[in-house]
């Protein structure tokens, strides 16, 4: 099962050409180029570009070069053919809507530069060798990357940068250019709420000049509302992988590996722990839904009813486990909503429902459950055992 494990939700990965637009704004040089979508926009672009070109599919995913998303051309005819091929193909499962056409550069070295938030700090990264194999190179030789913690108020200190450049054996002629790159990365990271920016490769041209050949910029989703200009740079919406299916506003997560138990839980951390526990018994959660948002928005009954209905209709689910342990909400109020969604226990439900409900206002919750004929499991272990047994019978 794939879960979104990023605790801060997701990061929006910008298309390369948007990233390069931000780069140029902050003084990071990029090759000259144009974004094209068809033959006529290519013809227009060719008027201002040299004959030797590189064409790069604009998709928000990694492994683009290895997936066939980059092509080279020596003349206009080759460029047309390359563009047609890129637009026709799917690259790593993504269809291509636009292509960045750039002058093909001659450079002496491929380096790496990036900025990332790690261990609570902003860290600048510089690499001796860059390019598509930077991860493998760094695995074999950790000294390939030097990472420096940046003061979030002051930015990188000159001394820190110079130490870093010396350790990486950058030629002194290039130090000023590298320093500008480091400062620009920090400035962009703060200005655009970027959680990661990567220039890989960062090419060394003759005479102390650097050029960003690629741009990977990830923006913190939690900050998009205050970054309207960046939010408008959404990748083509229909080729961005969408969130899992939603049903009545609930996010369901399906287990691609199968399973026989439907889990209605409260809180992502506990839901994962319950999945682990159930997997440890040899059974599996087929689908789970976090009821937190429904309760938080005052729609507990509707949310629970929708979740039960979806699980009733899901043929692989043979038992339903409702596990709610609450502190922030009142359990008796949740139970009142649950009983409206569930009805009294008359043995009429399509699938067995096992309850484990604890928290705030437990005494009244227990009274409500008993009056409706429902039993509350004494512990998580007991509830899981009952749900697994019911799914097997």
């Amino acid at each position: 099962m794939r879960l979104d494990l990023s605790p801060n939700g997701c990061n929006m990965l910008l298309l390369e050409h948007y990233g390069k637009t931000l780069f140029r704004k902050h003084g990071v040089p990029t090759p000259i180029g144009a974004v094209v979508r068809d033959d006529s926009s290519l013809s227009q672009a060719l008027l201002s570009l040299p004959p030797r070109l590189v064409l790069k599919a604009q998709i928000a995913t990694g492994g683009r070069g290895k997936g066939g998303g980059i092509a080279f051309a020596e003349n206009a005819e080759e460029a047309r053919r390359a563009l047609a091929a890129l637009l026709r193909n799917r690259i790593n499962g993504h269809s291509v809507e636009s292509v960045l056409v750039e002058e093909r550069m001659v450079f002496t070295r491929e380096r790496y530069a990036g900025i990332v938030i790690e261990d609570g700090e902003i860290r600048l990264l510089f690499g001796r060798s860059g390019g598509v194999d930077v991860e493998d190179i760094t695995a074999a030789d950790p000294a390939n990357i030097v990472s420096i913690a940046v003061d979030p108020i002051e930015g990188p200190a000159v001394g820190q940068l110079q130490d870093c450049f010396a350790r990486l054996d950058y030629a002194p002629d290039y130090w000023a250019a590298y320093e500008r790159i480091g400062r620009a990365l920090f400035a962009m990271s703060c200005a655009y709420d970027a959680t990661m920016i990567e220039i890989n490769p960062l090419a060394e041209l003759p005479e102390g000049r650097l050029l960003a050949l690629d741009a990977r910029v990830a923006i913190d989703d939690a900050a998009l509302d205050r970054q309207p200009d960046i939010a408008a740079m959404q990748p083509h919406p229909h080729i961005t992988p969408r969130a899992p299916n939603t049903f009545a506003g609930l996010k369901f997560r399906e287990n691609t590996e199968g399973g026989a138990i439907g889990l209605i839980g409260l809180g992502g951390g506990l839901n994962v722990a319950l999945m682990d526990w159930i997997a440890g018994t040899g059974s599996k959660v087929a689908a789970l839904v976090d009821i937190d948002e429904a309760i938080g928005s005052g729609q507990a009954q509707q949310g629970l009813a929708a979740a039960l209905e979806a699980f009733d209709r899901n043929p692989s689910i043979r038992s339903i486990l409702i596990n709610i342990i609450t502190c922030g909400y009142r359990l008796d109020e949740i139970v009142a909503s649950l009983l409206l969604a569930l009805g009294p226990n008359t043995g009429q439900r399509a699938k067995p429902v096992i309850l484990h409900l604890r928290g705030n206002g437990a005494a009244r919750a227990q009274q409500l459950l008993s009056a409706a004929g429902w039993t509350n499991s004494p512990s998580i272990a007991a509830a899981i055992e009952a749900a697994v047994a019911a799914a097997r019978s």
Partner: protein, 293 residues
């Protein structure tokens, strides 16, 4: 003793505009917590609080000229957290618990930095709070799910801790304090600071550490337990064993996290530091009972 939330801790609440904060204040009063004041950016309906003898202030600076506070609870909206927490730090409040979720990462980096520089204990963002049962409630935790006792609990996830506390209560095991450090990538304090506090608390005899896959907090905690010589028994549980490890974007994340962050790496690091690693939540009370013998 317990840690952070003591019987005499006076609490200031920020962001009362949030309905969750209003509910929590009522719950704190029900638990006998010393609510010393409320900071409300907008002057709304404050009769309820005045009736309960809780003063309402327009800013934290204003509050600190009239009342004393040992701990701030911040419920402010995500984009207001940076300035609200910075103000609380500037006003000299020594412990700040930030319960707001969806705080932008760059803001979290900044308040973490400012708090560290000022020697302030910042818990969160996205924390479920702190509670010492029988003494003080400074978060979502309620006494219905736990007893007072001598086990200290540190958790990333609130919901996971609720379940573990409930299981411990069923087994007759109580807690000194529970601290939720939050599950965000950037946190004011991580397991390490609270391990040190529990280690120094004479009332706490054992520590429970609740982690999850992703990030390096558990590995960092393991190194700290070994190097700082935490001699109290530590029981850990890491959730996510059955979940394939997520992908990171770009090379930067992969380089930073190489060999760290997955379930096996965390459990290996913790076990090597002498931590007793529970396979499921049900095993936590059993391990605690064995260690108490």
């Amino acid at each position: 003793m317990a840690i952070l939330a003591l019987a005499e801790t006076r609490i200031l609440v920020h962001g009362i505009e949030n309905p969750l904060a209003r509910f929590q204040c009522d719950e704190m009063l029900r638990h006998g917590t010393k609510l010393t004041g409320i900071v409300a950016a907008e002057a709304g309906n404050t009769e309820h609080w005045r009736a309960a003898n809780i003063p309402v202030f327009q800013s934290v600076r204003d509050a600190m000229t009239w009342v004393r506070a040992d701990l701030s609870m911040v419920f402010s909206p995500p984009y207001a957290v940076k300035s609200e927490v910075s103000d609380a730090i500037a006003a000299g409040i020594p412990i700040i618990v930030c319960l707001t979720e969806h705080v932008p990462l760059h803001d979290a980096v900044m308040i973490r930095h400012v708090a560290k520089r000022a020697g302030v204990t910042l818990i969160g963002p996205n924390s479920s709070g702190v509670m010492s049962p029988g003494r003080t409630k400074a978060g979502f935790f309620v006494e219905d799910i736990c007893w007072p006792g001598n086990v200290g609990v540190i958790t990333k996830s609130g919901s996971l801790a609720y379940a573990v506390l409930a299981e411990m209560k069923s087994a007759g095991i109580g807690i000194s304090t529970v601290v939720a450090i939050g599950g965000d990538v950037v946190k004011g304090t991580d397991f390490r600071e609270h391990l040190a506090l529990f280690h120094g608390d004479p009332e706490t005899r054992a520590i429970v550490l609740l982690g999850e896959i992703g990030g390096c907090d558990e590995e960092n905690a393991a190194t700290f337990i070994r190097d700082a010589v935490i001699t109290k028994p530590v029981v850990a549980f890491v959730s996510g064993r059955s979940v394939p490890f997520g992908q990171t974007m770009g090379h930067a994340g992969a380089i930073a996290e190489r060999g760290r962050g997955d379930y096996q790496s965390k459990c290996r690091a913790l076990a090597a530091a002498g931590v007793h690693v529970a396979q499921d939540i049900g095993e936590i009370p059993r391990l605690l009972k064995l260690l108490a013998r």
